[in-house]
């Protein structure tokens, strides 16, 4: 398990009040008890944890599916992309 995967699982498990060990990348977000406020909170916590910005607008879907992720794995992949994107950006000359 990567650091990213572990941290994302921690954050989602806490918000969903789910047993951390029951969550896998295959877990579908819709099966967790998360409302739209929880989704916004989760994204905030992920941004804080990894110092990234995720362009999520709650109007483009009142649930997680609308944000472009269906499973916990999708969230992990998205975070990975953003971290990588930011590193690439950081390498460019000022």
């Amino acid at each position: 398990m990567t650091d990213v995967e572990g941290a994302v699982l921690d954050i989602i498990a806490e918000k969903a009040k789910a047993d951390r060990s029951s969550l896998t990348p295959q877990t579908e977000i819709s099966t967790l008890t998360l409302d739209s406020l929880d989704i916004v909170e989760i994204i905030f916590q992920i941004e804080e944890r990894f110092d990234i910005s995720i362009p999520y607008n709650a109007n483009e879907g009142a649930d997680a599916a609308g944000a472009g992720f269906k499973t916990v794995g999708d969230v992990i992949a998205m975070v990975g992309q953003h971290i990588q994107g930011q590193q690439v950006q950081g390498q460019q000359p000022a």
Binding site: V40, F44, N57, N59, E60
Partner: protein, 401 residues
């Protein structure tokens, strides 16, 4: 019970510094949403809003007095001056004791609060200017209005987030109707374009990055606005006795609480507020021709509000003209209800229905006549103006020509 007429109107918002400019913009369907210039946007993701562009406080207030006036109070005073002048009332006489002043605001003096805290935390200021507290308090605007005009009757501020102004106007209406006062100055004022406030709004992820397109497919959220609007309400007998100009009538007011969620709108709460308002007006639902909708442009509000209109009006819903003027002047939060009541009254007088701007594609879930993009020439007599606030506090006004 008294009939309650409107004998004065004043407004300053993104689409006009007075009601004449505002009426022209409403009729032209001219949206004032654009890049923010009144506050730094370098650390913001959302950099647009509907600001009162070109507002120069020094043109309206002496320098010494400005030390006491937050931007939201400045707007309130400018709108109140226009409304009082239009009414022809002089509150320094006996009428001043029989007049109420009731204003709504969502958050009050945020500009002052944000600037002061920046000074304290960033610049390590050792002390503040002496009158920060009376400048930022949410009731400051209405206090300054009473002082400027000599209004000596009941005066206070209502706060119910985005429904603040409608709660103020509705309360003022009830007081005049009951005969507690002869006149009430009422409305709302808001100014939230500060770095701290905008950052907090941004965090909720409901601001549109491009523009506000209420009820349209692909809408991306609300766009914040600022400003103030003021109405002078007066008992019909009092207004007629002095030959006052009559600009319209307030005929009903309904309120409800969702008692459900701090941000998500509820169908039931909106339905009950509109039904209470219509019942209060004594008019049949099919007497209503126009609805100035809450219409924030968020995914949730616009669908819920459409369903509520269907539920309240039944088959008549399809005959209603429904528009959200927030697409023009932005969401002015605690001032929204007042700006929208002013917009409705100006449209009533002008014989047109203001459009929902930026409406480029219908949303199958929002299936009413939203008067897309272009104002419609039409005389109308009876309208609703709705505010459904965060926290589930709802307030709806019924207005008649």
């Amino acid at each position: 019970m008294n009939r309650v007429v409107v004998t004065g109107l004043g407004c300053i918002c993104a689409i006009g510094h007075d009601t004449t400019e505002m009426a022209a913009a409403l009729k032209a369907g001219r949206s004032a949403i654009g890049p923010l210039t009144v506050t730094p946007t370098d650390r913001l993701t959302v950099k647009i809003g509907a600001e009162v562009a070109g507002f120069d406080p020094a043109r309206h207030f002496e320098e010494k007095r400005l030390l006491l006036l937050d931007r939201f109070s400045q707007f309130a005073l400018v709108a109140a001056r226009e409304a009082v002048a239009a009414s022809g009332l002089d509150f320094r006489g006996p009428v001043g004791e029989r007049s109420a002043a009731i204003l709504g605001s969502g958050v009050g003096g945020m500009t002052t609060l944000d600037e002061s805290f920046q000074r304290l935390y960033l610049e390590n200021a050792k002390r503040f200017q002496p009158f920060i507290i009376p400048k930022l308090m949410i009731s400051a605007a209405v206090s300054h209005i009473t002082m400027e005009h000599g209004m000596r009757g009941p005066a206070f501020t209502t706060a119910s987030a985005c429904a603040s102004a409608n709660h103020a106007i509705g309360t003022a209406f009830q007081m005049v109707r009951a005969g507690m006062v002869d006149v009430a100055l009422t409305g709302g004022a808001e100014a939230v374009f500060t770095p701290g406030t905008l950052k907090a709004w941004e965090a909720m992820r409901i601001l549109a990055p491009d523009t506000c397109r209420p009820f349209a497919k692909g809408r991306k959220g609300l766009v914040l606005g600022e400003g103030a609007a003021v109405l002078i309400l007066e008992s019909q007998a009092h207004a007629q006795a002095r030959g006052a100009p009559i600009l319209g009538e307030v005929v009903g007011f309904g309120m409800s609480a969702d008692a459900a969620d701090i941000v998500l709108p509820s169908l039931d709460g909106a339905v009950r507020a509109m039904r209470a308002c219509i019942a209060d007006s004594g008019l049949a639902p099919d007497a209503f021709e126009y609805v100035n909708a809450h219409g924030t442009g968020t995914a949730m509000n616009d669908v819920t509000e459409t369903r509520a209109l269907h539920k309240v009006f039944g088959d008549h819903a399809r005959k209603l003209a429904v528009s959200s003027t927030k697409s023009l002047h932005g969401h002015a939060l605690g001032a929204a209800g007042a700006i929208e009541a002013a917009a409705t009254l100006l449209a009533m007088q002008g014989g047109f229905i203001p459009p929902t701007a930026n409406y480029n594609e219908p949303d199958p879930q929002c299936d009413l006549d939203y008067v897309p993009n272009t104002a419609r020439e039409r005389h109308f007599e009876v309208a609703l103006s709705s505010s459904f606030a965060f926290g589930g506090l709802n307030a709806v006004l019924a207005l008649r020509r």
